[in-house]
């Protein structure tokens, strides 16, 4: 029996309009996925341009002005066009209703609207690029952002608009988790990816409005000179930083929580073992979401904070380490004595554990006031957040893509190439960013197109490996797309990895247009490998 010839969400209904106006969460998810990948490549290209500029001191390829544009756009595109909207938008949209046994999200039309709002915001970002870029850094700090002659307004307007998309997706997901679960699927039987999306959505709906209002104030400051952030008019530029980080620190958790959720799915399935500490992982998600709101001041240790605030923010920052540590240990204990198979998703999950742990621990370094004052605005910070954002989130995203690719498209990719690419990502990533910790410790400041002779060795090393990293990611993604080509098509069956959640056990690959042929009945928990045997439908 071939699954591919059956009616599924990819082949039914047909026609371009049935895609552009679709209310199907799976199709909307795919639209997010492909636009996200597009922006990921665009952002990645900018990163490589910067790395090659930094291969040697002096202005070799691009001028200082172009470099300023490149790092601003790299950050803004990666954060606001790829990581924040695309990961919940893509994997979250495709999987959330399937995982809770629903036919769709709570508000399908709102879901489509979110996608178009996101696209509309992205147009402003693209306009910014065509019109000569923006050079303030992705944080748009005042007073420079109110004075810069570059395209601050189109870019912030784009971010403002994308914020609404983020809020509406968050609302939709929260309502879906609360109200659309099938009978019997209680909170503690939810897959942990659902918990992660729930935590993410909570942060999205509570933090994003503050970003929106901050962007409005910034635009008003530019248009009307309202003076709120301008010391010459009695205002305070540091207030901008408070506003900005009140959103943007929780936004870090918008970016990492879905990654945690992906890892919590991959590890038990590919270790064929019940997840260790289910409730600990679930509640650590919520506590990270909560603590994330109380630590924004640690971005401002050098902005003239009182010593008292520094101590308080530093102290609370350490607390983030507790729930995060709980997760890491739970994942490791899940693998312990499990039947670990080294599939591509598992490779990415293991890479995640290494890279994210380094990223998390160096975050503790930076949370310590004395050390932060030394390391602030150096490459140490750059390395730290790339270990979290790329080593954490993007590696988990790639793992999730490989994990759910056969489910989403009903085809299996070449696993050997996928594993080699994953190894390339892991090595290339460490080669690129580990030297940057050392550069930062030795005083190399971030956001400069050139540097002193003493940094040449580490910089050229970092540039060399960034090429390997870029090629590896390119191969990984191309290998996935390669699986679409007719002669390569391999039917993975409905449950290639032997997963226990509803998207694996109760629907075909790719799923039915209405998700399930009939409403699923829950027979076991999401990770009951100790009680039930689930066969894999695909064996290499």
């Amino acid at each position: 029996m071939s699954e591919n010839t059956k009616q599924n969400y990819l082949n039914h209904p047909k026609g371009i309009m049935s895609w552009l106006l679709t209310l199907d969460h799976k199709r909307i998810g795919l639209m997010y996925l492909f636009s996200g990948i597009l922006f990921f490549f665009l952002g990645g290209l900018l990163a490589l341009v910067m790395r090659f500029e930094l291969a040697a001191p002096g202005n070799d390829i691009i001028s200082n002005e172009v470099y300023n544009n490149a790092y601003t756009l790299h950050g803004a595109i990666m954060i606001f066009l790829f990581i924040i909207p695309a990961i919940p938008g893509a994997l979250g949209n495709i999987l959330l209703p399937l995982m809770v046994g629903a036919k769709d999200v709570a508000f399908p039309r709102l879901n489509l609207a979110s996608f178009y709002i996101y696209s509309f915001g992205a147009l402003f970002a693209m306009y910014t690029i065509i019109n000569g870029g923006v050079d303030t850094g992705w944080t748009f700090y005042t007073p420079y952002s109110t004075q810069s002659t570059s395209n601050v307004v189109p870019m912030t307007l784009g971010i403002f608009i994308i914020g609404f998309s983020s809020i509406l997706t968050g609302l939709n997901f929260i309502a879906t988790v609360h109200k659309m679960r099938i009978p019997g699927l209680t909170w503690y039987k939810l897959p942990l990816f659902v918990w992660a999306l729930y935590g993410t959505s909570l942060v999205q709906i509570t933090a994003t409005p503050v970003l929106a209002i901050t962007m409005v104030l910034l635009m008003l400051e530019r248009f009307l000179g309202i003076g709120i952030f301008d010391p010459a008019l009695g205002g305070d530029p540091v207030l901008y930083q408070h506003f900005f980080w009140f959103y943007s620190h929780p936004a870090v958790y918008i970016m990492i929580l879905p990654a945690f959720g992906i890892i919590s799915e991959i590890i038990p399935v590919h270790s064929r073992k019940k997840i260790w500490g289910y409730k600990f992982i679930a509640y650590s998600t919520l506590s990270i979401a909560f603590i994330g709101f109380l630590v924004w001041g640690h971005h401002m240790f050098t902005s003239g904070q009182s010593v008292f605030s520094q101590i308080v923010f530093s102290f609370i920052t350490y607390f983030v380490g507790i729930p995060t540590g709980v997760k890491i240990f739970s994942w490791i204990l899940t693998m312990y004595k499990g039947q670990v198979s080294f599939t591509p998703p598992m490779f990415y999950a293991l890479a995640f554990l290494f890279l994210f742990t380094i990223g998390g621990l160096t975050g503790i370094f930076l949370g310590a006031v004395a050390l932060d004052i030394h390391l602030h605005d150096t490459y140490f910070v750059v390395a730290h957040f790339h270990y979290v954002m790329q080593g954490g989130t993007i590696v988990a995203f790639l793992g999730g893509l490989h994990h759910w690719w056969p489910k989403s498209f009903g085809v299996m990719y070449n696993q050997t190439i996928a594993n080699i690419a994953a190894l390339g990502v892991f090595i290339g990533f460490n080669g690129t960013f580990f030297p940057q910790f050392l550069l930062g410790l030795r005083g190399m400041p971030r956001r400069y197109a050139t540097y002193d002779e003493q940094f040449v060795e580490l910089h050229s090393y970092s540039t060399f490996w960034s090429g390997i990293l870029g090629i590896s990611i390119f191969i990984a993604v191309m290998n996935l797309f390669w699986s679409f080509i007719k002669k390569n098509k391999v039917d993975p069956g409905s449950n290639p990895w032997g997963g226990m959640t509803l998207e694996w056990t109760h629907t075909s690959s790719p799923p039915h247009p209405h998700n399930f042929e009939e409403e699923p009945v829950l027979q076991h928990g999401p990770y009951d490998y100790d009680k039930v045997i689930v066969e894999k439908t695909y064996n290499k």
Binding site: A106, I167, P209, L217, G227, G234, P513
Partner: protein
Amino acid sequence: MEHHNPDSPSHLKHYFHDVNQQYETSKFAMWAFILTEVLTFAGLFVAYIVYRSWYPDMFVDAHKLLDVNKGLMNTIVLITSSLTMALAIWAIQKNNKKLSVLMLVATFIFALVFLGIKYLEYSHKFEVGQLPGEFYSYMGPDAVHLNNPHIFFSIYFIMTGLHGLHVAIGMGLIAWLIYSTQKGNLTSEYYTPMEMIGIFWHLVDLIWIYLFPLFYLIG
């Protein structure tokens, strides 16, 4: 491909089990949306707190430039509109279409009156130059001694402006409700949109209840 059970009403979407689930979902999401609205304004309230604590005397003196009577009138108008909104929902629950439409029209008119009074206030401020930031030019005897009064007016215009925008959006929604109720789309069986827009309207009212004392009644 959508197979509707002949027993299930036309307003029930196919991805819900029953009317109750659909209603509960809308209501839940609406409250979550209200939370985002509160946080949007919270950012501005923080700006208000910060600058009032920086310039306590200026805030007290600058607030005297506002027209308390117009502010009070607007407060009364908006609270009354909240009442008529609630009555419109009560009427539709009783299947009294005529009364419901009447109450919605009243709510719409009160909202219009609110914006009208606001327009009078704003235009006066524009005339005398009590404006945000760089545009501030008022030099009256009651203001010469003020330290950075344009900050007060920046915050005043942003907060009341954003609130006014909400009133205008609310009017659009209420106009749509008038149309749907008149057409018979909303009945005692199904009036979810009216209830949701009602919640939104009460929020708009509530924000004004905070804005009024914070701008017009300080000192």
